[in-house]
Symmetry: C2
Subunit: 396 residues, 2 copies
């Protein structure tokens, strides 16, 4: 029944290994799992993840359902390099994906895994990017989708998910309980719950690393900065660079910065305090809605990865997030607030001396600005009403 | 002062030619101008328009300012091919551009032209995709931008333009008068007005054709269907295929369908009535807001091109546009209503027998669904509120 090539899911925390043909989303020890698969090689004839990087995944060609995910731009912004005394500041603009966020990479990989295992139903727990992404790919794959969102999500946030035709449930109750209950019920009911940090979602995020390296001619930057919520994306990006190192395609790893909003930064807190276990953060509001996660399921793992690889974790106050969003838009990159946290983190890390003069940084811009229009209110946006006859005066 | 390689702007209507170093946006005869430039060749090392297709443009490398435009996915949807008895239906998803519409291609080309000619100020007349695109690229280029929008544009449509930091004027008065006045004042004040169908905007749209051809291994589809407002995009796409034919990269041209909303379809009306000159359409409302143009400045030219190349023009009623939007979303492609008009046009052209069984079609999906959230109201979108304890029952 399982069409996968031989691959394992392994736990970096306790060392356990499982066959990837098992529908397994976490290790028995409670920690997240990563894909262990020997393939490598880039098919440069296509820009789409499922073709270009197919060799890094254990799927048969038929398992993939693609909407054209991946192949996003890496954009250099000289004014930030100049401001910070760096040799380069680049943004990996993941809003140029089919549903306008990085989630499409992991979703495509999870859908392929679900199909390989014979599933016909999928789901996720999300109130934003991931929900839209899973609904879209399930639609493309002709699979039934059951999307669960938090009870406090506003009606207007639901329409961009519902438009894809998924079953959509707004569920009252704590988010992390919802995460666990969805995996439990999914196992019982034959629904593949591709939540935030499941193994193949992280495996999909590896292609962000592959593309960053490729676009830079395999010259890795000094720093890669990732806005972090559950922790699946930064885990995947780290794994991606490690895959490239193993394949001999790059000579060293970059250092990683986990960037969080100060109002909700459990990973930063654990990292700074030397804890191995994250503790639930007070669930304060942040404009960086997409990374608003007080108890991230990959939190312990991310803290361990950062220590292992000499990375760091930086939190960014609300005002600096808003400033970063304005500054990025004024450079032509309109990103959702969560995706502007890396610029705030880079500024803080440069000010504190962690990032040194002349170094280079790649910032992962996880999603587009139209995803969270509530943020417009934080900016002083201006326009003026006039008549055609006034233009001669106004365009002086 | 002009850094351009030798290139001409020529008028397909009267045959006049002008040096491309002239800041000229229309022919003296009143018709639009096209780029005439001998370069050809594809640099497959980059997916970005300004590198991959640089040889097709007369710019120096330094003239380009890129946010990573182009390299968008071509997505096959089998269920539509099956529904219509076609050998293939593909969507060129232009929402995977930096500002989530096809406009970025033309904007990048116009910005390069403006820089080559020494301009430091740019502008456009638009209420949507083009305004955001020009504001973003002007920001990236460090140029001052003067964006003019129609007087009836709602406040909430202005924030996604204003966020980029451009001067934004909401101008009362007729749209086509605003178009002309902007070009006149722009010439006087040194502002490069990159309106809808200016030569380098159409020249940028050629790369849509290049990518469609490339992704299909230079096997052209039978039909290419383009939602049409001013007419600059379909002109550019036609020119792109003609460039490929001239360069020997393709063996024949596809046939083109100009797709408009029935409520505002001056090009279709002129085409069907055998007119050479379009007449102003009654400016009725359409959900296809982005192509709502009662008197398109490239209308005459588009009609002539369709006749010359054995193409056709098809209009789509409101209900069919809404149905197409739902059907595309249920296939994973959430596009703005204007970008769903091609599917409605394909269905109509298939029903009328113009498009024949077994033929293939590529539909240009010009912009993403988040661009026009007003359209959600046209759909019966559903979700359900519940508690975590209810899930066991609801996920059966």
């Amino acid at each position: 029944m399982c069409s996968l090539k031989k691959a394992l899911l392994f736990c970096k925390s306790c060392g356990a290994e499982y066959d990837a043909c098992e529908a397994r989303f976490r290790c028995d020890c409670g920690e997240p799992l990563d894909l262990k698969y020997d393939g490598a090689g880039i098919d440069t004839s296509s820009r789409v993840q499922s073709k270009r990087f197919a060799a890094f995944f254990p799927f048969a060609e038929d398992d993939w359902v693609s909407l054209g995910e991946g192949g996003t731009p890496l954009v250099s912004v000289e004014r930030f390099a100049k401001e910070l005394g760096l040799s380069g500041v680049q943004f990996k603009n993941e809003s140029a994906n089919p549903t306008w966020s990085f989630k499409d990479r992991g979703t495509a990989a999870c859908i392929a895994h679900a199909r390989a295992l014979g599933y016909t139903k999928v789901g996720t727990v999300s109130s934003g990017n991931m929900a839209a992404s899973v609904a879209a790919y399930a639609a493309a794959a002709g699979m039934e989708a059951f999307i669960l969102v938090k009870g406090n999500v506003a009606d207007e946030k639901l329409a961009p998910i519902a438009i894809y035709g998924a079953h959509l449930l707004r569920v009252a109750g704590p988010y992390d309980e919802l995460y666990k209950e969805s995996l439990r019920l999914g196992a019982e009911r034959g629904i593949y719950y591709m939540n935030s940090d499941v193994p193949f979602r992280a495996a999909g995020s590896r292609t962000i690393a592959f593309e960053i390296a490729e676009e830079r001619g395999f010259d890795v930057p000094d720093w890669v900065i990732v806005p972090t919520s559950a922790g699946g994306n930064i885990r995947g990006i780290i794994n991606g660079f490690e895959d490239l190192l193993r394949a001999g395609l790059i000579a060293k790893l970059p250092r990683f910065i986990c960037a969080q909003a100060k109002n909700n930064s459990p990973i930063v807190t654990a990292f700074e305090n030397g804890w191995t276990q994250i503790r639930r953060a007070p669930d304060a509001e942040t404009i960086a809605h997409a990374i608003d996660n007080p108890f991230p399921p990959s939190g312990n793992r991310v803290v361990a990865e950062l220590r292992r690889l000499n990375g760091t974790a930086v939190s960014v106050p609300e005002g600096e997030i808003v400033r970063a969003q304005a500054d990025m838009a004024h450079a032509g990159l309109f990103a959702q607030p969560a995706s502007c946290v890396p610029l705030g983190a880079l500024r803080a890390a440069r000010a504190s001396g962690i990032v040194k003069e002349g170094e280079s940084a790649v910032l992962v811009t996880t999603g587009g600005g139209l995803k969270y229009t509530t943020a417009f209110a934080a900016h002083k946006l201006e326009w003026r009403d006039c008549a055609i006859g006034d233009l001669a005066e106004l365009l002086k």
